[in-house]
């Protein structure tokens, strides 16, 4: 089993930005049958404040705080295919370190993206409107009534304590 905790300490509080060399993008590498070489990727680590935002957001204040990984850390992945386009969320990869996350993301999206951002899922605060999250949708369906036996509670201390590491 991988014990990622020592690696996690090194990358906590960081967002990883991966920028692809422009030379590999024009004309579309896939259309030319090219595989983007690893050395064509340069990365920069940018420190950022990951503390909770102010409570000023109106209506987007339902937290989705169940973990997205346990033994292996999860990394939210954002990609941009052209500089004129917005950065889009493109899922997440599981990796014990930022460097391995970068490699995995580049393998999956390097043929298409010019920019990759990787954010530790356990340092990403997710907020939605009240009825958007699964918890909110569930509450809307059940109308707050107890519909039988219940297993687990994703918002309990037991569940949100791991934040990407096994509790």
């Amino acid at each position: 089993m991988v014990d990622a905790r020592s690696d996690l300490r090194n990358v906590r509080d960081s967002v990883i930005v991966v920028q692809f060399a422009r030379a590999h993008l024009s004309g579309g590498p896939r259309s030319q049958g090219l595989k983007i070489p690893r050395r064509g990727i340069k990365d920069a680590t940018v420190s950022t404040d990951m503390s909770d935002p102010d409570d000023g957001a109106v209506g987007i204040d339902a937290a989705v705080d169940a973990p997205r990984g346990d033994v292996t850390r999860e990394w939210e992945l954002f990609v941009r295919e052209e500089s004129s386009e917005p950065l889009r969320h493109a899922g997440s990869v599981s990796a014990p370190t930022a460097e391995i996350a970068r490699e995995q993301a580049a393998q999956l999206f390097g043929w298409s993206a010019e920019t990759l951002w990787l954010c530790p899922a356990d340092e990403t605060r997710r907020f939605t409107a009240e009825d958007v999250s699964l918890a909110g949708r569930t509450a809307e369906r059940t109308d707050g009534t107890d519909d039988g036996s219940e297993r687990g509670d994703p918002n309990s201390a037991e569940c949100d304590g791991s934040r990407g590491e096994r509790a």
């Binding site: 049958g33 990609v79 997440s92 393998q107 699964l134 918890a135 096994r166």
Partner: protein
């Protein structure tokens, strides 16, 4: 999944509507129309398992994991799958029977219009539990048996696991559930293949699912025990031969090949050689309708934390999480370049898959294995065992399929 029994022996089965658009010609209840275009969804409803298997794609653990969906969340998720039109939900794990609310969730899925089926190691499946699941609407139980006792127990990390799995199969059958046996082949258990088929025939098991090893979870760590191309070809030939032999003797076992769509091309070649060109044409047309490897299209996976994956084996990448938005919204969001490209992968395949004449029945095989071995999600599947002649490269004379 490729049904050898359907294609070579014309056995009628419930899955044919999904696999071959063959609902109209079947006497069995079939999934039709809109639902045929939606994925079968594997739900790893827990990561916890009472065994610790060498090849577990979910890297299951013997202790509970954080973030498992609650009963209420699971019900909402199932409602959303049904609203999206998913035809089938496969309760998997970990070991799904460790969830004490499994029967309640199966009943909810059934009531919502989903076809609930179960993948289990069988060791916790008592007749009482199987009967409750049947009453809840469970339609099928697949039990993993990876070889005869010595190999299976070594693989599964627990002495006696084989006997307990057989007891689970017996309990499922006694409850009247359609019951199958799932066998993942490696070099360790390849010699057990004929004995496993004999066992399930002897026990009256309805279905045999032959799985190729995929390189996800702990399966990625045991690539060294995967079969050589020659041994894989031989194993698939033996599955075809055994299926026909047992059908000739009156055992109507449903036999499925899973996890390597080179098998589709091999089946056409096998039919051409053993049954003649007309049967090969029929097999080829069914497989064209089946459409090849289903990753990101006709199969989906949602793990115990709600992360959506491209297949159940591909746990290292997630498209999104159902706690953030409904499954259907994630699955249809083709702004994700990888998801979009997988759905038009013919334009992206490289290497031996790019110009293979069987691309339309295989679609490059496992994208996860291509990624695991070649670091490229559009590279060739390392498990492909087709010859250059079968692939039709360099002006080889074999035409694409038997439609010549």
């Amino acid at each position: 999944m490729i049904s050898v029994s359907k294609l070579l022996c014309d056995l009628d089965a419930e899955g044919d509507g999904l696999r071959y658009d063959a609902a109209a010609e079947s006497s069995k209840a079939q999934i039709r129309e809109r639902k045929q275009r939606r994925p079968v969804v594997v739900w790893n409803c827990t990561k916890q398992c009472n065994l610790y298997c060498d090849h577990c794609y979910a890297a299951a653990e013997t202790e509970p994991a954080a973030g498992e969906m609650t009963t209420a969340e699971g019900k909402q998720f199932l409602d959303e799958l049904a609203a999206f039109g998913a035809p089938v939900v496969l309760f998997s794990g970990g070991e799904p029977l460790v969830r004490d609310d499994l029967t309640e969730l199966v009943a909810h899925a059934s009531d919502a219009g989903l076809r609930p089926v179960l993948s289990t190691n069988g060791t916790l499946l008592t007749e009482e539990r199987a009967s409750a699941l049947r009453d809840a609407g469970l339609m099928y139980a697949g039990v993993s048996v990876d070889g005869m006792p010595e190999q299976n127990d070594a693989f599964r990390g627990q002495e006696g696991a084989f006997d307990r799995a057989l007891a689970g199969i017996q309990a499922s059958q006694a409850a009247g559930l359609k019951t199958g046996l799932r066998y993942t082949i490696t070099r360790h258990n390849a010699d057990d293949l004929a004995d496993v088929v004999a066992l399930l025939a002897d026990r009256g098991v309805d279905r045999f699912c032959f799985y190729h090893l995929d390189y996800g979870g702990r399966g990625a760590d045991i690539q060294d025990v995967d079969l050589s191309p020659e041994d894989r070809r031989d194993a698939v030939r033996r599955v075809c031969d055994l299926t026909r032999e047992y059908h000739d003797r009156g055992h109507e076992i449903e036999t499925l090949l899973v996890g390597n769509y080179a098998d589709a091309a091999y089946l056409v070649e096998y039919a051409r050689r053993e049954l003649g060109p007309d049967q090969a044409e029929r097999v080829y047309q069914y497989l064209r309708r089946n459409g090849g490897d289903p990753t990101g299209e006709r199969i989906a996976d949602v793990d115990y934390q709600g992360n959506v994956h491209l297949t159940q084996f591909w746990q290292g990448y997630s498209l999104g999480n159902v706690r953030d938005r409904p499954f259907g919204d994630i699955w249809t969001d083709e702004s994700n370049p990888l998801l979009g490209a997988l759905r038009e992968r013919e334009e992206h395949l490289t290497g031996r898959c790019a110009d293979c004449q069987y691309q339309d029945v295989c679609r490059g095989g496992s994208r996860l294995r291509a990624l695991a071995v070649g670091d490229d999600p559009f590279g060739p599947d390392p498990q492909c065992y087709l010859t250059r002649e079968e692939r039709g490269v360099d002006g080889s004379v074999v035409p694409p399929g038997p439609a010549d």
